[in-house]
Amino acid sequence: MKGREENNSEQMKNTRTIAVGAIARVEGEGALRITVKDGSVQDVELKIFEPPRFFEAFLQGRHYDEVPDIVARICGICPIAYQMSAVHALEQIFGLRVEGALRDLRRLIYCGEWIESHALHVYLLQAPDFLGYESGIAMAKEHGAVVSRGLRLKKAGNAIMTLLGGRSVHPVSVKVGGFSRVPLRRELEGLKDELLWARDAAVETVRWVAGFDYPEFTPDYNDVALRHPDEYPFNEGQVVASSGLHLSVNEFEEHFTEHQVAYSTALHCTLQGSPYLVGPLARVNLNQEHVTPLAKQVLADCAVALPLRNPFHGIIARSVEILYALEESLRLIERYEPPPVPVAPITVQPGIGMACTEAPRGILYHRYEVDGDGIVRKAKIVPPTSQNQSRIEQDLRLFMPRLLSLPDKEVALACERVIRCYDPCISCATHFLNLDIRRESSA
């Protein structure tokens, strides 16, 4: 930003600007501006319109019981994540811990969302980059069977979401304290055959993506994810970073700070002032001990070693998580006994509560302040994409130098590929991500 303001009009004459209508296969709306001056990258600005900010205001004055249904509308791709962070934060205020079968069902519905979201990204949004297609549609014309496998995998996730959530888009059954309805054992067992197929398809998915050609690119990441002593994290755990940070969710805001940047309506979140990485890559790296033996075996067969340090390997991490989610779903279904009540009793009391859960794209932090009548007085939501925003910009700065000799159109495509590694969910918003590259010379 500063660099551009300092440019005088003479220098600006040497600026070339390229605008690309939209960055394809990124969920939502935003804009990217890159300024190159005298052959080096001066500025990278990723602008995201971020509706969770609107929802923070929208939630004020609402009864706590309405919150899960409202936040589910923030994102069409990850409604469960928003619901899970909300209910856990509100339950902290009311002194409630949801255990047993209800806790399992929450893990299960989250598995459904990961499968659905990751399968879409792996097969239709990111794989075309590695196989040389401009879109999932173009890829489907020549790889119909592969795309069918991806869509069927996604559908297996939908089936879990639909059974537990009442519907796959904007599920409605999640409540503070549990669910409005819990499934019968035989209903869950009805999913098993398809989930077994999907588990095998997930193994094939890991093998498939492990065989792609990846650019050499290993930035120095500070990975951040939840970590739980007993399980791969969904709803509970400590917030840990590869830098050594270890804290409870209640300490989140002491270490992670949001700040405004002039070019974006979204707040950038940094960890002690520095960019950090959330999402499947960070999660797998920080939770290697909970990667299943089957997933470890498949990775070993493919000569893929953890930790993963290349952002383009995010597609491998995502595929490993599809496999994890399917194995975990089958395990949870196997041991399921319906809980005595679908929703635990709630005693409303005033207070402040916070929770972090692992959305498909990374940790999603919610904090609520509720009064004695159960009315939300304040809400704060820190979505994963805003946490990765600084990291995306940093990666583009590091990746750009190798692209500078290319024509602008190819630079734009390469930048899109870098951005897609993060599966940025700007979607809550909509419509376009405009790309603007400025090449300046002081000569």
Partner: protein, 160 residues
């Protein structure tokens, strides 16, 4: 997602959109109005921000009518009608969107995979304000009435 009628219906009417984003709800509100008028002549689905699952929702129908918000620069409330069974519908009218993979991309993906129903008609209602929390703009009410009337005529033609 609300549906009526069995999934095997040969005629399926699907409304898309985000009801929290002003005029983006046009498709959803249209099918909500249609639901009571259409009876058992068609299966009516409020699909919200369904994305790529639109392919699944279309599967098995011989005729699908989709209604979504459109943004091509025309006046808010203008109504587009496309026969997607004949040729791709323009992404310039149905931008990639809050529906993750937009209606035009889902249709083309279905076509590429050879699973597009025989007839797919797409109505696009040109939007004005799609800000989160904004109410429907004034010109939209009349536009939705118009789309409802047209779709009822299409249904009658299908059953003639």
């Amino acid at each position: 997602m609300k549906t009526n009628g069995p999934r095997s219906s040969s005629l399926r009417i699907i409304g898309l959109g985000n009801e929290l984003r002003g005029d983006d709800a046009a498709g959803l509100l249209t099918v909500r109005r249609l639901r009571h008028m259409i009876g058992d002549r068609a299966e009516v689905i409020e699909a919200g921000m369904v994305g790529v699952d639109l392919i699944e929702l279309m599967t098995g129908a011989s005729v699908v009518i989709l209604i979504d918000a459109a943004r091509s620069g025309k006046a808010p409330g203008s109504v587009h009608r496309f026969d997607a069974s004949v040729s791709p519908i323009g992404r310039q009218v149905f931008p990639r969107s809050s529906h993750a993979i937009g209606v035009s991309e889902a249709i083309e993906l279905a076509r590429a995979m050879g699973v597009l129903p025989a007839t797919v008609i797409v109505y696009g209602v040109e939007v004005g304000n799609t800000e989160v929390g904004h109410p429907l703009s004034p010109p939209m009410g009349e536009a939705l009435d118009h789309v409802v009337r047209q779709i009822i005529q299409e249904c009658e033609a299908c059953h003639a």
